[in-house]
């Protein structure tokens, strides 16, 4: 979203600059600030202030209704020594890594095969995109039924092939991959469409030139397609990392963090501590950690990759 804000800023500034040079009024200097004031106000009230308040709360012991007690860094120290928290961190990172990998690689390959403008491809794109427009709640329930260990469709099919049933959501070692699968499945269509539209903007002459040189298909993919859509890959990676860390609905509906904490992720844990156990300070400390992680990921990612991206 940072990119969006930056972009908006730039657009607005350039508009204002042209206006200023045209009209040449001193009052026009204030105009851009007046124009962005509402969005800045919203940003401050709903984002900056809550961030500040969350950091403040993370130094307190508070149950939402009683008095706040200042306890310094105790919440953070408790976090460090909380084995459950480290399990939750592990789950979150595993979830992020697998979800981002799959929800980029599969759509990339799909986009490459489906980008030709044929009727079948249009239809397949539509099919792939459908899960994205269905609410996550409905999707969670549908998959809960399909993944049910006794009455589910998947285990029924396994049974037909003589395989033993799997506790898709009840086996601690399988539950997290099951949730990842659902998220990847839901996001594939969106990512594919973005990749396709990005691939369609690649100038045709590059492919024609490659054709003349008898370039092999994978060379074309790695030397032309991939570099040309790198800004899109970059954008989607970042977006997927963020949404992976934010995962909540599927966890809340499908497993409630169980069995045995195996699908408990950061945001769900924050929710639990904040609004089920009423340990607001502890939840805030976790929120600060999550904010830090996402911040670090973003900075690292921009530094490491932004130079390699081919912007046109």
């Amino acid at each position: 979203m940072e990119t969006n804000y930056a972009l908006n800023g730039r657009v607005r500034t350039s508009a204002a600059v042209s206006k200023k040079s045209g009209a040449g009024k001193a009052g026009a200097k204030l105009l851009p600030y007046t124009m962005v004031a509402p969005s800045i106000a919203v940003f401050c009230v709903f984002i900056l202030y809550p961030i500040g308040y969350m950091i403040y709360l993370s130094f307190f012991h508070w149950n939402l209704i009683g008095p706040k007690t200042f306890i310094g860094l105790e919440n953070y120290l408790d976090l460090l020594h909380d084995a459950d928290f480290w399990q939750v961190m592990g789950n979150s990172f595993l979830y992020m890594f697998l979800m981002v990998s799959f929800s980029l690689m599969i759509p990339l390959l799909l986009a490459f095969t489906l980008k030709q403008d044929t009727r079948l491809n249009k239809f397949l794109q539509g099919v792939l995109f459908t899960p994205y427009i269905v609410s996550l709640v409905s999707i969670s329930y549908v998959w809960m039924w399909m993944m049910d260990s006794d009455y589910g469709l998947i285990n029924y099919l396994l049974h037909l092939f003589g395989m033993s049933p799997v506790g898709w959501l009840s086996d601690p070692s399988v539950a997290l991959p099951s949730l990842i699968f659902v998220s990847v499945w839901k996001g594939i269509g969106y990512n594919t469409i973005i990749f396709i539209s990005s691939m369609e903007t690649i100038p045709q002459y590059l492919y024609e030139a490659a054709n003349l040189d008898h370039a092999k298909k994978h060379t074309v993919f790695f030397r032309i397609t991939l570099p040309m859509i790198s800004p899109t890959i970059f954008f989607l990676t970042l977006m997927n990392i963020i949404s992976a860390f934010k995962v909540f609905e599927t966890v809340n509906l499908m497993t409630q963090g169980g069995p045995m904490n195996s699908t408990n992720t950061l945001v769900y844990d924050i929710y639990q501590y904040g609004f089920q156990f009423y340990k607001i300070g502890y939840a805030s400390a976790m929120g600060v950690v999550l904010m830090g992680i996402i911040g670090i990921c973003t900075v690292l990612y921009f530094r490491a990759l932004s130079r390699r991206i081919h912007y046109r």
Binding site: I47, L169, Q276, S284, M291, I294
Partner: protein
């Protein structure tokens, strides 16, 4: 940076709640509107928050309406019943409303949360009102009252209450040649499960990692999940570990099936499809179980949860409470409503309508309950268990978090075959930490 919104999902909500508090703490709140009229010509309007939909909702709405038409009309009180979601939702909203100063005058409250709200001054002690009007507290079942008291003061009156109980598909029991009155002891329970599995192929018992039944098992084994002053768990004691071991053995033999806490709906599916002969559920599920059984052509009976050392079940459900941040006039109105709602006739009405147990002994003498006994004799078993051996639930504010750990223990030992000793030793520290 919208990404940060995610991190702050919670914080933002807290802030909005907290931010309101500074601004509107002085106002009486939404329930105060309309009560300002000094002439007394217009009625005192109070709000009543309740949880759950369906029969429970209808019961709450009907009772509020009856109140408005009778006592309310006479004393100038008008109750507005508002649905708020689950118990957790009610609690969350009540906290937010308290901070912003707009609490309802009366609310339902899940029994184990009473202490936390009382300690933080959200709910009003009812003792003065009880004394003033001479409400006979001995008429309530003793097991229901423990969770109404914090220290020496009453903070709530029992409303829609229940206990867990053992349900049996007697058609299957008879098929297995067993006495349909049910097992009395853990030994008999094990025999029942074994015989049922052998003779019918169905599971003897289907259960899930459920904190409420775990509390019952501990009681039946002569102990309790938490120690007397609720400062530590009795999980890592011989009696505690025996509970885990007893059911683990039955599960390992294949006579009993236990699913994870998140899979609780499977138990329903099992009993509906007659894949199990016995299951634990709330007494409030009786009407539903009976109608399911009728549709699927089998008979259902209930009996006390079998004992190992002694009988004992925790109670559950909700009490009615009054909030603190309302005017004196509203408090009086709220008390009239609470008193009326928990009185004999209404208790009988609610019990019949919802399937919860009546909270008053005198209600059993009403024609409503006597008729119910005739049509559904099982209701009497539920009330007898309540009368004979029910106790309250732990009220330590950290118990919600501790419960989650206890469910993890059950999931580990009963569902995933983890070693009892090491699991219990590891979790004991965590649970005790939660209770501090």
């Amino acid at each position: 940076m919208r990404k940060i919104i995610s991190a702050l999902l919670c914080a933002a909500m807290m802030v909005s709640a907290a931010a309101c508090s500074s601004g509107t703490a002085d106002t009486v709140g939404s329930s105060g509107q309309g009560s300002e009229d000094p002439s007394g010509a217009s009625p005192t309007k109070i709000t009543f928050w309740y949880a759950w939909t369906d029969k429970i909702q209808e019961n709450n709405v009907n009772l509020a309406k009856q109140f408005n038409e009778t006592v309310g009309k006479e004393k100038g009180i008008e109750v507005d019943a508002q649905y708020q979601g689950s118990y957790d939702d009610v609690h969350q909203k009540l906290q937010a409303a308290y901070v912003s100063g707009s609490t309802p005058a009366v609310s339902v409250m899940e029994i184990s949360s009473i202490k936390r709200f009382a300690q933080n001054g959200v709910i009003e002690p009812l003792s003065p009102y009880i004394q003033q009007d001479g409400v006979d507290m001995n008429d309530f079942y003793q097991g229901l009252l423990q969770n109404c008291k914090v220290g020496d003061a009453w903070y709530g009156l029992p409303y829609l209450r229940s206990t867990p109980i053992l349900y049996m598909n007697t058609t299957l029991l008879e098929k297995a040649g067993l006495d349909p009155s049910g097992p009395k002891t853990w030994e008999e329970l094990a025999d029942y499960c074994k015989t049922i599995k052998e003779k019918t192929g169905a599971y003897g018992l289907s259960m899930y990692s459920y904190i409420w039944t775990l509390e019952a098992f501990f009681l039946e084994n002569g102990t309790s999940v938490l120690n007397k002053d609720e400062s530590a768990t009795n999980l890592n004691t011989d009696q505690g570990k025996y509970v885990l071991k007893y059911f683990r053995d039955l599960i390992d033999k294949g006579d009993v099936r236990c699913v994870a806490g998140a899979d609780s709906s499977k138990v329903d599916a099992d009993y509906m499809n007659q894949k199990c002969a016995m299951w634990f559920a709330s007494t409030a599920n009786l009407s539903k179980a009976l109608s399911v059984a009728k549709q699927n052509h089998f008979e259902v009976n209930i009996c006390y949860i079998p004992k190992n050392v002694q009988y004992g079940v925790p109670t559950g459900g909700c009490n009615l409470v009054m909030t603190t941040k309302i005017s004196e006039k509203e408090k009086k109105a709220a008390w009239e409503f609470i008193k009326w709602m928990t009185d004999t006739e209404q208790s009988a009405y609610a019990s019949k309508y919802t399937g919860y147990v009546t909270s008053r002994k005198s209600a059993t003498k009403t024609s409503t309950i006597q008729d119910l006994y005739k049509t559904t004799p099982q209701f009497k078993v539920a009330l007898d268990q309540l009368n004979d051996c029910s106790v309250g639930r732990p009220m330590n504010p950290g118990y919600t978090e501790a419960s989650k750990e206890l469910v993890n223990v059950m999931d580990a030992v009963w569902v995933n075959g983890a070693d009892i000793d090491s699991t219990v030793a590891k979790e004991e520290t965590k649970i005790n930490q939660c209770l501090k």
